[in-house]
């Protein structure tokens, strides 16, 4: 019995660890290279750090993917900055952990330069 409990605990820990390492990918389908991407739970202003800093060249080209670790499934608002100097928002971006989510040009709003 004790052995079964230990195995279960180990499996639970493994599952939690695997979940924490789930890679979600942001697919940049805006018209420019993005060098700033911050996410906040939809409707809040709790924006996290710039996720683009995790990319080898700190930016995400058009049609490129950015790997994001540990992002939970949910609906997010996004703040984007691109190399052309634009700052834009994207509302209600649906994210499924471990999958690819895209933001396209037509989803951007309130762009300022």
């Amino acid at each position: 019995m004790m052995r079964a409990v230990l195995i279960l605990a180990a499996l639970t820990a493994f599952a939690a660890s695997a979940s924490a390492e789930t890679i979600t990918k942001f697919w940049n389908l805006t018209k420019n290279t993005v060098d700033g991407l911050q996410l906040a739970p939809a409707g809040s202003s709790d924006f996290g750090p710039n996720l683009c800093l995790a990319d080898p060249d700190k930016s995400v080209d058009y049609d490129e993917r950015l790997k994001i670790s540990g992002l939970a499934s949910g609906t997010y608002d996004a703040k984007l900055h691109d190399v052309a100097g634009r700052s834009c928002s994207a509302k209600s971006v649906k994210v499924e952990a471990g999958k690819v989510f895209s933001i396209s040009e037509k989803e951007l709003s309130g762009c300022t330069q």
Binding site: L29, K31, P56, D57, D61, Y62, D63, A84, V100, E105
Partner: protein
């Protein structure tokens, strides 16, 4: 006299049949990166005649040596799908290594050389065996794959390392690497095998490399009146069979540059759909078709007159095209 008339009528009939035979209809297969489909265009009707569901994120697309099979890299599915070109159905799935993006067949039809963007490898896929026969480490984010007409050289471009790697296909070893402009995306040999042309997306140039010496002979730059220079991003390359003309896709500049191969001179810029990625010529060299990523269409260019004839709507985010 009636006998002569009958012969004349027969000759006329034969001439009509021959003339009808001249008008060849080809099928263009277009990979739709976001739609997860391949659109099939009849080049005679200039319309989509079929849509084939495939795996996730289809990008690179090519044809087998016997021209019976279309291969497509389904990048997010981490494999290659084989489409029977007649039945237009996926008939086989082949391993490819992670995140296959572009590939090139060996001239003998035995291998597909596959760029694995995520793990900096070129996979050598034995088509008959359906197995990866070799893996060749290259620079970061490999993408463009060009094979010399004699099959001796494979050139892989690595986007982040900004290099064109020359791979000896006997030893499957990188024997030389040539630094090119930023983010090289595509490699295409001239039909005589003497030069390989490498496009650089961020650099906005095409490097013409002498295959024998691996020296850059010329860097071709592009300038389109009224278009911001940073939007001129060189990606796809097609060269006519006679080796005289190259067509360079310029991405978000929405243009295809027409380049004289001998002089490296840019002769014209043709306005096509939005964000043009890759192109292919019909086997008779009459038309060039371009996959336009943002406008979700394919432009048809008449090669003789250098006029854009038509835009054909296809699936979501068209990326690659190959014509049978």
């Amino acid at each position: 006299m009636p006998h002569r008339l009958a012969i004349g009528a027969l000759m006329l009939l034969c001439a009509t049949v021959v003339a009808a035979g001249d008008a060849e209809a080809y099928m263009a297969f277009v990979s739709n990166e976001k739609g997860n489909t391949v659109s099939v265009i009849d080049t005679d009707k200039m319309a989509v005649v079929a849509t084939i569901p495939v795996g996730q994120r289809p990008r690179g697309i090519t044809i087998s040596k016997d021209r019976k099979t279309i291969f497509v890299c389904t990048s997010d599915a981490d494999h290659i799908e084989a489409i029977d070109a007649d039945s237009m159905k996926v008939v086989r799935t082949l391993p490819s290594g992670a995140d296959p993006e572009l590939f090139a067949p060996s001239p003998d039809g035995k291998y597909l050389y596959v760029a694995n963007e995520d793990n900096a490898l070129v996979s050598v896929l034995d088509i008959d065996q359906g197995a990866v026969a070799n893996e060749i480490p290259v620079g970061v984010e490999p993408e463009g794959m060009g094979v010399s007409p004699d099959g001796k050289w494979l050139v892989a471009t690595s986007e982040t390392t900004s290099m064109a790697h020359f791979i000896d296909t006997d030893s499957f070893q990188v024997v030389d690497s040539v630094l090119v402009d930023t983010r090289p995306r595509y490699a295409e040999f001239t039909p005589d095998g003497k030069e390989v042309w490498v496009s650089s997306e961020v650099g906005g140039t095409v490097a013409v490399i002498d295959v024998a010496t691996r020296k850059i002979l010329k860097k071709i730059s592009f300038a389109v009146q009224g278009v911001r220079p940073e939007t001129i991003q060189a990606v796809g390359i097609s060269i006519t069979k006679d080796g005289k003309t190259a067509f360079i896709s310029l991405g978000p500049a929405n243009r295809v540059a027409v380049v004289d191969v001998a002089s490296f001179e840019v002769k014209d810029y043709l306005l096509v759909g939005q964000r043009v990625w890759h192109t292919d010529l019909t086997p008779d060299g009459k038309y060039l078709l371009t996959a336009n990523g943002e406008s979700n269409d394919v432009s048809v260019i008449d090669v003789g007159s250098l006029k854009v004839l038509k835009s054909i709507p296809v699936g979501e985010l068209p990326w690659g095209v190959v014509i049978r």
